[in-house]
């Protein structure tokens, strides 16, 4: 009898272990994150999961920055609420925001990535992409680690989804960035690759100094920012390319860990403030490629930004966590371009398909070729725009050309 009981016990134990093991493996890799602080209920508006904690000592040891952040509210018991982006993270002391780079130590919100640059390149402006802004210019492009969105197809996931303490970085001041831009002949500084909103303080300081030296500022963004910080930033931004990932909120929730409304608000604000604006829409098969989705997006752009809005439809390639579907068929992109042109937009480009003529600029009035490009390169022999106008019909072409 004893033996039987022992056997049963072993079996039960084994089964429990197997179940527990499977559940824990499943949970571990489902990305279950820390829950929201329970006691802070009075101002709770955010449901964004927080990033893992990091001690102040560790931050100092590895030379991350401890610069006080802008746009936050101090709450009771040392908690703070970050007001930079629509996620509005509520942080108890020691906690870090969803973007991985803003942390609350003793009731003060700090940015960990002020001047902690993980990527610095001198790219052609067409790579941002900006087709109507200083064609042929070089843009000193920079990023820090972290992002306030979680796009599953992110091409730059190695930095956007990285914790600042896990990434190798250069510690640079805003002045140093501007100096590098001047030395390398970059006419602009582009805040790009990840979501630049998360290194807002550094971007703002760089932008101010850049303007002092006549260098333009370019914001390549997902537009996930609150109005107040946006208004301040827009004073220094000369151009922006906003990634409008789709027009449906469900799409944003499923693929990007965000919502569409704040992005649309950003687009409207930038347009109102007169910042040069171009919009990119990555078309993902079976994600946002239906005619209805594309038409709704295009109509929103035409109605809110105007027919001169520059719209880039970009080809999706499987990247980061997204393995399927395969790259967007050319036919889908052509269909999107067709819809946009029929709906009345004047400047529609197709990205990630070089050499087919989809990156060339045509006059909206006479239809003549004005700028021919090969990939990211301007073919100057074919560059016709003069003083921002079509040389054939004198139509004004939206953009910053000189």
């Amino acid at each position: 009898m004893k033996r039987k009981k022992a056997d049963r016990l072993v079996l039960i134990l084994f089964s429990c272990l197997l179940i527990l093991g499977s559940v824990s493996v499943a949970l571990q890799f489902q990305g279950v994150s820390e829950q929201r602080p329970e006691e802070i209920t009075e101002t709770m508006v955010s449901t964004a999961p927080l990033a893992r904690k990091i001690s102040r000592e560790k931050v100092e040891e590895i030379n991350l920055s401890l610069k006080e952040a802008l746009y936050y509210t101090q709450l009771e018991k040392g908690a703070v609420q970050c007001n930079l982006c629509p996620k509005l993270c509520l942080l108890r002391p020691g906690e870090r925001g969803n973007c991985k780079v803003r942390v609350n130590y003793d009731g003060v919100l700090y940015t960990l990535v002020y001047g902690r640059i993980v990527a610095l390149h001198n790219d052609p402006i067409e790579k941002k992409p900006l087709m109507h802004f200083l064609p042929g210019a070089r843009a000193l492009s920079l990023a820090t680690a972290g992002c306030n969105l979680g796009c599953v197809f992110c091409q730059n996931w190695t930095i956007s989804q990285s914790y600042p303490e896990d990434a190798r970085f250069l510690a640079l001041t805003p002045q140093a960035i501007v100096d590098i831009a001047r030395r390398e002949g970059s006419r602009c500084i582009a805040y790009t690759y990840t979501e630049p909103t998360i290194f807002y303080e550094f971007m703002l300081d760089c932008a101010r100094i850049a303007h002092e030296y006549g260098i333009k500022n370019v914001w390549v963004t997902a537009g996930y920012i609150n109005r107040e910080p946006l208004l301040e930033l827009a004073k220094y931004m000369d151009a922006a390319n906003v990634d409008l990932k789709g027009i449906r909120d469900e799409y944003y929730q499923k693929y990007c860990d965000g919502h569409v409304k704040p992005v649309l608000e950003t687009l409207k604000t930038l347009h109102e403030l007169g910042v040069h604006l171009e919009i990119t829409n990555l078309i993902v098969p079976e994600g946002n490629d239906s005619e209805e989705d594309i038409r709704d997006l295009v109509r929103w752009v035409r109605e809110n930004i105007g027919p001169d809005a520059v719209l880039h439809f970009s080809r999706y390639f499987p990247a980061y966590r997204m393995e399927s579907p395969p790259p967007t068929p050319l036919a889908t992109l052509l269909k999107a371009r067709d819809i946009a042109l029929k709906e009345g937009l004047h400047y529609v480009y197709i990205g990630n398909i070089p050499g087919e003529g989809f990156e060339d600029t045509y006059c909206k009035h006479c239809g003549k070729l004005l700028v021919k490009r090969a990939g990211y390169t301007i073919l100057w022999d074919y560059y016709k725009i003069k003083e921002g106008r079509c040389p054939y019909c004198s139509e004004k072409i939206y953009g910053v050309w000189e």
């Binding site: 996931w157 393995e323 399927s324 579907p325 090969a374």
Partner: protein
């Protein structure tokens, strides 16, 4: 034929069917898990593990079962589960994690677990129930069954590898296996008259599965329905299985996609990547006369032929897939086939390259990322040395390694810099150009000045050759050859010294590539700590586990040293088997027939071992001698592979066969001998299941250790050395049983 002999024969068919089931599961899981070789390792591991667990559970259950006929039921269930389980394995991802997002190690494991469990668990049960069915009629029944299983596996492996794998799709193989089991069950087990209704079950299911397997269109419908789950929005144009892989061609809005083992390899509306990796390097070569392309597709060949080359040799491994694939490539891209400069050499490229006498101006390696044992061979120091021998003086080698556009994670840095350091050992000049499509283009060799990155100079060559391209153009060379990025990345690789050189003996890039895959899917969960694994850690783990076993044995008296020994034998057998297969592959190339031969030899060794174990009298002594000789043999293997592999290459294949045979022999001898010793002390129909289970679980743990830890991190010789240590410890523990018994009194 007597009832017990029928069961023995039937169990042999189960052995053969188990091989077919494993093969079908591996093929299926490879497709569902995106071609990850890790998935293969996990399938084999889970198969053995759950078969072992099944055996353990069965040994508990069989002692309590009152009614007979269990084996017949299980036989039927096994026949049913093979096709059903394979279909389940092919569809389970759709119902769980879906195909949209990459799988990390945890999800991958869970999926493989769900895929394997039904069939493998049942197969573990079968052994114990077969013992129960024939135990009272036959002496040495478990060993005879073990022998029968080994012979069945040998026969099944041969038929599968050389007949079925080429002729049938995975679902067909599973259905044929099921129908063979139903038919054999009906013919062999019908003498058991306990449950007459089962006869009808066998007949009905045999008819059903045979119909689905052989009636044209029916099995195809099953295959297509599985593929539709994998590619829900694509039209399936073609699919086939070859010896090496699964291949599918799909279409979406006139864009044709080519998938190998479920992974997108090329698509028709691409071309930019191909232009980049062909033209930038070939513009470096003053006179590109003869070009060799290892792997790769028509798209690359098309670009190469735009240069003034005299000959283009393409070494392709998988003839069947290559030929079928070409039929779906757009006509304008297929024209190169008619070009008389092109010669296609079918066979293992690794082997082909070794036998080439021609001298080439450029060699393109297009075999895919080094994340499998097969592909990592092409990124080793040894292979680069072979390439250097077939290059003209200023010839270049070109290949790509995965990267990310603007920043290298640690995993990518390790992967890229390891290959950089490896190729740098052979070629003085190595330049890396960051490509636009998340790949670094490596160019090794060339002139004494290295790669020319001057757009003006390259533009002149470009114009001179009148190249007609879309992405790499005279104008775009300036942006593609971004000096800033190129200098940054090359400097990074020069300075980074923490990664190891990739050698054929220790394919460390395999580990780095798997780590990169894991980081991508799981976002930050890394296995890097495993690279610090040394013999000291192994010894500490071993001593601790052994101490626990001794203490438990003193307290519980459950014959744990015997179980431990059979576990170690299973573990060692698996590690040595995989090491030998890998050694052969890196020395001689991947030759399908030889891999089949090696596995056959192992099974043959198992059969001899099982036979011998039934006949010996002084079992303990013989076992000790056999294992001491085994340690000696694998020590010699360790020495030869480590020191004299190249010098003794002519004879080494024969020696490897001997080691393989002896590995099988000793594993089976350990099983048979230990089983006799174990059952002599404790009776019960389920006891053989414990030993059988320990053997299988040992094999499964050995499979995991070999694939993730031993082969990539400590290399072939390191793995063998660890096995020697483990066996020495196990033998010592096994022989110390009298002493432990004394202590327990």
């Amino acid at each position: 034929m007597s009832g017990s002999k029928r069961i023995l024969f039937g169990y042999g068919i189960c052995g053969a069917s188990a091989v077919a089931a494993q093969f079908s599961l591996i093929r299926t899981v490879l497709v569902t898990q995106g071609g990850s070789e890790l998935a293969v390792c996990i399938v084999i591991t889970f198969w053995l593990f759950f078969a072992g667990i099944g055996s353990f559970v069965a040994s508990w259950a069989t002692e309590r079962a009152r009614k007979g006929g269990g084996f017949t039921w299980l036989y039927f269930l096994f026949g049913f589960l093979i096709p059903a389980g394979v279909f389940w394995a092919g569809s389970v991802r759709t119902f769980t994690f879906g195909y949209e997002f990459a799988l990390d190690f945890g999800r991958s494991t869970l999926l493989a677990l769900l895929s394997c469990f039904p069939i493998s668990f049942t197969s573990g049960f079968l052994f114990v129930w077969a013992v129960k069915a024939v135990g009272s009629f036959l002496t040495n029944a478990p060993i005879r069954l073990y022998l029968s299983e080994a012979l069945g596996s040998l026969l099944g492996g041969i038929v599968l590898s050389f007949v079925f794998a080429e002729l049938f799709t995975t679902i067909q193989i599973a259905l044929i296996t099921g129908s063979i089991l139903f038919l054999s069950g009906f013919l062999l087990l019908s003498s058991f008259k306990e449950i007459p209704v089962l006869k009808w079950f066998f007949i009905v299911f045999f008819t059903g599965s045979a119909l689905f397997a052989f009636v044209p269109g029916l099995s195809r419908r099953l295959d297509v329905s599985l593929l539709k789950l994998r590619f829900p929005n694509e039209k399936i144009l073609f699919f086939a299985d070859s010896r090496y892989q699964n291949f599918a061609v799909t279409q979406m809005e006139n864009n044709t996609y080519f998938y190998q083992n479920g992974v997108l390899s090329y698509f028709s509306q691409g071309g930019q990547r191909e232009e980049e990796i062909v033209h930038i390097p070939l513009l470096q070569v003053g006179s590109p006369q003869h070009i060799l392309m290892i792997g790769g597709w028509a798209f690359i060949a098309k670009e190469i032929l735009k240069h003034p080359v005299e000959s283009l040799d393409i070494a392709v491994e998988d003839e069947k897939i290559h030929r079928h694939g070409l039929e779906f490539i757009p006509h304008d891209q297929r024209t190169f086939l008619a070009d008389e400069r092109v010669a296609i050499l079918y066979g293992d490229p690794f082997r082909i390259v070794q036998s080439l006498n021609k001298r080439y101006s450029a060699v393109f390696i297009e075999v895919g990322s080094p994340e499998t044992l097969l592909t990592s061979r092409y990124y080793t120091e040894g292979f680069f040395n072979i390439l250097k021998r077939i290059l003209v003086k200023k010839g270049i080698v070109v290949f790509t390694v995965p990267t990310s556009p603007n920043y290298l994670t640690e995993a990518l840095l390790y992967l890229n810099s390891s290959i950089y350091r490896t190729v740098k050992r052979v070629f003085d000049k190595v330049t890396v150009i960051p490509g636009e499509y998340a790949e670094n283009i490596f160019i090794a060799g060339g002139s004494e000045h290295g790669v020319n990155l001057e757009p003006a100079a390259l533009s002149a060559v470009f114009k001179d050759r009148e190249l007609r391209t879309k992405w790499v153009t005279v104008q775009s060379l300036v942006t593609i050859l971004d000096r800033w990025r190129i200098e940054q990345i090359n400097q990074q690789f020069k300075e980074f010294q923490e990664s190891e050189v990739n050698t054929r003996e220790k394919p460390i890039v395999l580990f780095y590539a798997l780590e990169n895959r894991q980081m991508k899917a799981a976002g930050g969960v890394s296995f890097r700590f495993l690279t610090g694994f040394t013999l000291i850690h192994f010894l500490i783990i071993l001593c601790s586990v052994w101490a626990v076993i001794v203490i438990m044995e003193i307290k519980l008296k459950r014959q744990l040293p015997i179980i431990t020994f059979v576990f170690s034998a299973g573990f060692s057998g698996m590690v040595i088997e995989l090491s030998i297969l890998f050694s052969f592959q890196v020395l001689y190339g991947y030759i399908y027939e030889f891999v089949g031969l090696f596995i056959g030899i192992f099974m043959g060794g198992l059969s001899i071992g099982a036979l011998v174990s039934m006949r010996i009298t002084n079992k303990e002594r013989v076992l000790a001698i056999v294992y001491i000789v085994f340690i000696g043999i694998i020590f010699a293997y360790h020495y030869i592979v480590n020191m004299h592999a190249e010098a003794m290459k002519g004879m080494l294949a024969g020696f490897l066969l001997v080691v393989m045979l002896y590995t099988g022999f000793s594993t089976a001898l350990a099983f048979g001998t230990v089983l006799s010793l174990y059952t002599a002390k404790s009776s019960g129909a389920g006891k053989p299941g414990v030993i059988y289970g320990a053997d299988l679980v040992g094999g499964s743990v050995g499979g995991v250790f070999s694939s993730i830890l031993f082969l990539p991190i400590v290399g072939i010789t390191g793995s063998v050395f660890y096995v020697i240590v483990l066996l020495a410890f196990s033998l010592l523990l096994f022989l110390s049983r009298p002493l432990i018994e004394k202590l327990s009194l």
